[in-house]
Amino acid sequence: MSKRAGLATAAAAGAPDAGRAPAAGAAVPSDDRALVALAQKGDRAAFRTLFERYHRRAYALAFGVVRNQDDALDVVQDAFIKAHRHLDKFEGQASFYTWLYRIVMNLAIDHLRKHKRQQPVDFTDQAVENAVSEDALLPKIIGGNPGRALMDREIRERISEALDSLSENHRAVLVMRELDGLSYEEMAVVMQCSKGTIMSRLFHARKNMQRQLADLYQGPPPDADGAAPDPEDSPAD
């Protein structure tokens, strides 16, 4: 997997939980808290450090939602401007990154709505909440190393197209979950909705992704001891 450390590098510089946003209510990394306190007093260098720490991750989140490089850069820029402007009102109840995350997410979704891009219609979250079950998701996998799969340009484009095909709400929860490993509760806070709605959106996001990538799926994953499945046993697609 190329440059997986990239997104975590900036966070690893200070945050102890590299690659994962601090959970809501968990102890905020002390140097993040110190930086925020300095920035609140007008220390531009402290705010810049926060920017350097989180801008790549913020970009990946924004891009995951708006699916356009120019728009994602605008969202990130606007998010940090907004964060700086309202820094004096940040009370530290959530981590700085979770707070920033919410700003990025809100701006990204607002951006999509303002530009009125053609969006697939969401299923009614409440109506399908009861349909979430393990059986409804395919057990098949693409096979092999995901990192190696992404080096295949065609597969990378297919994944990008599959993400594009999701509705903004479905894509937002999938990106939050897979990019930063946010819990259902954390995502519910970010998106200002119930945990059940998050579960429903995540389920449908994955279901739609699997449907879009159906022809890439080869068969069941290796069994518990790592042995590759016998190709003769793979069900026909």
């Binding site: 401007i81 907004k82 940040f90 069941p220």
Partner: protein, 179 residues
Amino acid sequence: MLAADGEAPATDLGPEARQTTAAVRELGELVRGSLELSADDAEPRLAGLWDLIERRLDVAEAPAAAPVAAPAARPSLGARIWSWLAGHRSHVATGLLSAGAVAGLSMALGPAPTEKVVVKTVTVPAVQPTVMTGSPPEVESMELIGGSGTVFTIGDDDGDGDTAVIWVEPDEVDPTEGI
């Protein structure tokens, strides 16, 4: 799915549920990897993002434009000419050099005093001035804190250009913490 997301223990899963968990995790790896590669693609522009942010922060914190100072008492004519020459020293030097070159050229190429000079008048057809066409103003992005906006375009009907009026209405409070 719950087990794959760490929202439920993975201890009591049957074989197919374990396979589903593995598939969900693999899909997650693919999505995460795809987004990280997208961030890599944007790296050159991300590198310049802080400069753009800093400029906007500077605008927000910049002091007001200084009021236009009243013009000082006019100096004497000689002082003004000297001041102008001092300010345009390079142009004066260029002009003198050009004059010398042109003088030399004119003496080398100019007609002999006894040669008859014929003046020809050539009428150049008037060049039609290019009509500078324009486009209406375009609002590329609009962030209205606690409000909504509407863009009206007043068309150009008498040659003075299009005008964008951005009407801002205050709105309810943003639910994000502290904002």
